[in-house]
Each structure stands twice: as C-alpha cells, then as structure tokens.
Amino acid sequence: MSDVIHHSNIRLPEGSIGKETSTLNLGPTHPATHGVFQNILELDGERIVSAEQTVGYIHRAFEKLAERRPLYQVTPITDRLNYCSSPINNIGWHLTCEKLLGIETPKRVDYLRVIIMELARIADHLICSSIMGVDSGAFTGFLYVMQYRELIYEIYEEVCGSRLTTNIGRIGGFERNFTPVAFQKLEKFLAEYPKVLKEFEDLFTRNRIFMERCIGAGPISAERALNYGFTGPNLRAAGVDYDVRIHTPYSSYEEFDFEVPVGTTGDCYDRFLVRNAEMWQSLRIIEQAYSKVKNMSEAESQIYHADIPEYYLPKKEDVYTKMEALIWHFKIIMGEIKIPKGELYFPVEGANGELGYYLISDGGRTPYRLHFRRPSFIYYQAYEELIKDGMLADAVIVMSSLNLIAGELDA
C-alpha cells in the first residue's frame, strides 16, 4: 500500500500518515476571507502542512455571456470582475474597443479617465490595506478611511450615476461632462485625503503589533513571483518594477510624472507599503491630470467624448425628438454597428495587477471570443506556496494582503 492518502480534494504529503495532522476548512464563507474562497488546510498543530484552494463558487460565465453581447453590453460584465475598482475595468474595456475600432480619443477624455482610474486605484488599495489592519486586529483604520472611499464613490456618482458597479463611460469617452459638483468633490478629496492617508500610515506603518504580524509573512522572491505570473503591487512588492502604465502606456499615462514603488522581500509588509506608496503616486497623478484639465480653454472643456457618431450613443434629447438619432441609438444598442475583424490583446494596470482583454472579432455584432486576463486568478495559485510552513493566523493575513477579489477570480 502506498503511504499517500488519496482523497478527492485533499493531498497529503508522503509520510504524513503517522503524523496526526488535522484538516481545516477555511471558507467558503468565513469572516476572514472577504469573499467566497475555500481553502482546505492540512494542519500540524497550528502549522500549515498543505493547502488546496477551491475557486469558482461565484463563477458567472462572463466569457460565454460576452459572446452574445454587443460591445456596449459587455461593459456591465466588466464591472463585476474586480468590483472594488470597476471604473478601471470599464475604461480598460472601452480602450480595448477603441483600439479595435481605431478611435482616437481627445486629450481631455484621456485626462478625465486617468483621474477616474486613479481614484479607483486609491479606493481599491484603501480597502486592501485597511482590511489587512482588520485582519491583524486594528479596526480603527478601516472605519476611518472608509469615509474617503465614500467620497470617491460620490465622485463616481456625479460622473455616471452609480457607485459600486459603475458602468462608467462609453466607447470614446464619457456619457456626460463632469459636473461642477464632481470637480468640487475632487478638490475636497485632493485637499483632505493626504492628511488622512498620512494618519492612516501613522497608525500602521510603525505599529509594533502590525509589523510583527506582517513582516516575514508570506514572502516570495522576484523569480518565483514572475514564474507564478504575479503582476501589480504584489509583483512590485517582490522587487520587480513592472507597471503597465509605464511599459505600455494607455490613455496618455506617458505624460504624467510618477514613480513606481517597489519592495524587496515580497512579504505582507512590503505589499502593504507598496500599496500605500502607490496611493501617494496616484494622488500625484490625479493632481497633474486635474491641473491639465483645469487649464484647458473654454471650448476644450466642453469635450467629453470623441466625435464618433457611429459608436457613441446620441444625446437623449435627440433620441426622443429626432428620427435619425433614434435609429442610431437603436442600432448601437442592438449591435448593428460595423465592427471590424481583428484580434488584439489590450492590457491595463488594474488595481491588483495586469488586467488584459483578449478580444477576437469576426466582424459580427458580438465578440467571437473575449478572454479576461484576471490578475488575481493567476497569482492566487501561489497561495499554497506562500502560506506553507507558516502559522494559520498568517494564512489569513497573507490572503488579505494579496488583494484577492472573488468576482475577478471566478469571472
């Protein structure tokens, strides 16, 4: 008889039979997992011997759905990938469509998109960093910064009308111009947030308990991280300065001056520090973009979309009163617009890594095939390696430091 226990979902390392290990189900619904993740842990006392992740609990077949939806109807699907920063997903998808359709966007649209995307990045990092605090026993930071995520959501609300699953923008730009209230709120955010972030960092960065919990928990070397397909803050925490915004700039990111923070050990503490440093950089980018938008001439400040009547929905007033506009509205919504054949991969820097859209169009009304490269799906594979031989309590904090979003993981 072989000395390996065969079970449908538990793999024990050889020789562990005499060792009296115990199996623990962490998840699928557990307060410490922040989403639907199941982990079957094999424990020796409190030390983790092996782990197996089970994913797919909220799989919604987005790739199949997208094969029957015209380009515009795919946008709400992308909302539900990484729902902590859905504007990045929406805008990434619109940028993909624009590349396929060969659309050039005006500069003002690019800058406004950059503002929205960086706000989304801040909102996402804010949640991740503060949740790390919650998981290590510090609730205050979480409640405190939540007010400023609220403010970011209010800005979204001014721009597109919704908060979490934003469905923001259109192919070619935004559905309406930013209101003065949106800019006021943005100014309020830019004025108040640096102080809050400073205070948040003061609470955590040199906090002895937090440091003890995070330093050395779940480290990964740069080489392993690359092999595991890490991207985004998790890869940068391991010391690789790969950032899609720098490597393949989109939406005029090349015009902004910002740094790419990197860590060294790739442990939880480095991931936390990298995310915090990225929030400062995002603030810098927003300030630059906002000053560019502010300094535009009166005529330019009315531009909020590219002039592409074939793809951009006509104004609602026109749709209700004019025949032509109604026809175009109908054609665009029903996907009767001309879409060229083509195949492209378009990456954007999502809040937790490289979010890629692989789109094949056969000239029909819907994508022939659409694949989302979902960063957290790819790097979650490394979870077993990160937590192995660690303590159970570390597994929880490693998970929150990876910024796993169940919606993105399961597509």
């Binding site: 690359l226 083509g342 490269r373």
Partner: protein, 167 residues
C-alpha cells in the same frame, strides 16, 4: 539593443524552419503559429535563449473554430519579455477529437490554473499537467461550455424571430 520582431522571427525560423508559420502583426503584436507537437519546444526556446528571454507567461487560453476541420481548437499563448518589454502571441491548433497539448507547467507555475481553466471550458487535454481537473465549473459537468456548439440561449424557444437582428 532593442529586441525587434524581425529578429525574433529570424531566430524562430532558423531554429524551427517549417514548424513555425503564419507570421503577422495584428494591432502591433507579433503572432505566429506552431505545430501542436512543437508548442513546448517553442516555449522552451523562447524562454532559454538570452537574446529572446520570454520568461513571463501573460496569458493562456483557447478559441474554438468549429468549422475549421482538424484545427478546431486553438490554444493561444501570450508571452512577455519584461526586460525588453516585448510581447508576442503564438497559437497551436489541435483537432477537437484528440485535443492533446503538452503542458507548460514545468516551465511556468502560472500555467497550472490557466491550463485547468482552458481544459474546463474547452476540453483541451494538457499532457503532463499535474492536476488536470475542472476549476471554475462543477466537477460533475460533462461538457465543455465555451465550445461553440453550446449556444447561450435556450434553443427550444420558438417565440423569437431572429431575422431582424441577425441572431
């Protein structure tokens, strides 16, 4: 020295000759096709050679072309050379009756789940994969849902007239 697509193409043709074909650059990304048996050798060659060094597997998935007899399933690899910042894409085609493809898990840990996902949705059998089982769908599922023979809408519906909108 910047790594150019011409150089990559030349190196690949030198090494593999007839086995790599169909070089093109749709939307600015080098794309080529390799024979199914050569996929791992091509990956290894691109990984090992110092002047190529494609050591980051960005993405791996499949596409189903039901009308292309003998080449129904395309497995698509996206590779990235992070130092030179060059991306490329290559595809292999396998028949749907025997969709056997060598697994890239030895080379890239990240290929593990991506291949499981591809198997899950398209039924591509990755030979040499350590744990090839379904990942997002339920284990009891007995078909591969992203293949084109499974239309999204219930096919028993007769109340919809599809002439108008080309459905």
């Amino acid at each position: 020295m910047a790594l150019s697509y011409d150089h990559i193409k030349e190196r690949l043709l030198q090494k593999f000759g007839e086995e790599v074909t169909g070089f093109e650059e749709p939307h600015g990304m080098l794309t080529f096709e390799a024979t199914a048996a050569m996929n791992l050798k091509v990956l290894q060659f691109l990984y090992d050679e110092d002047d190529l060094a494609f050591r980051f597997l960005t993405d791996l998935q499949a596409v189903h072309y039901p009308h292309d007899k003998g080449r129904e399933l395309a497995v698509v690899y996206h590779l990235h050379n992070l130092v030179e910042n060059v991306r490329l894409r290559f595809k292999i085609y396998v028949p749907v009756e025997s969709p056997d493809v060598f697994s890239a898990t030895r080379l890239f840990e990240s290929a593990n789940w991506m291949e499981r996902e591809t198997y899950d949705f398209f039924g591509v059998q990755f030979v040499g994969h350590p744990n090839l089982k379904r990942i997002l769908n339920v284990d009891e599922m007995d078909y591969f849902p992203l293949r084109k023979e499974f239309p999204l809408e219930d096919q028993t519906r007769i109340d919809k007239d599809d002439d108008m909108f080309g459905r």
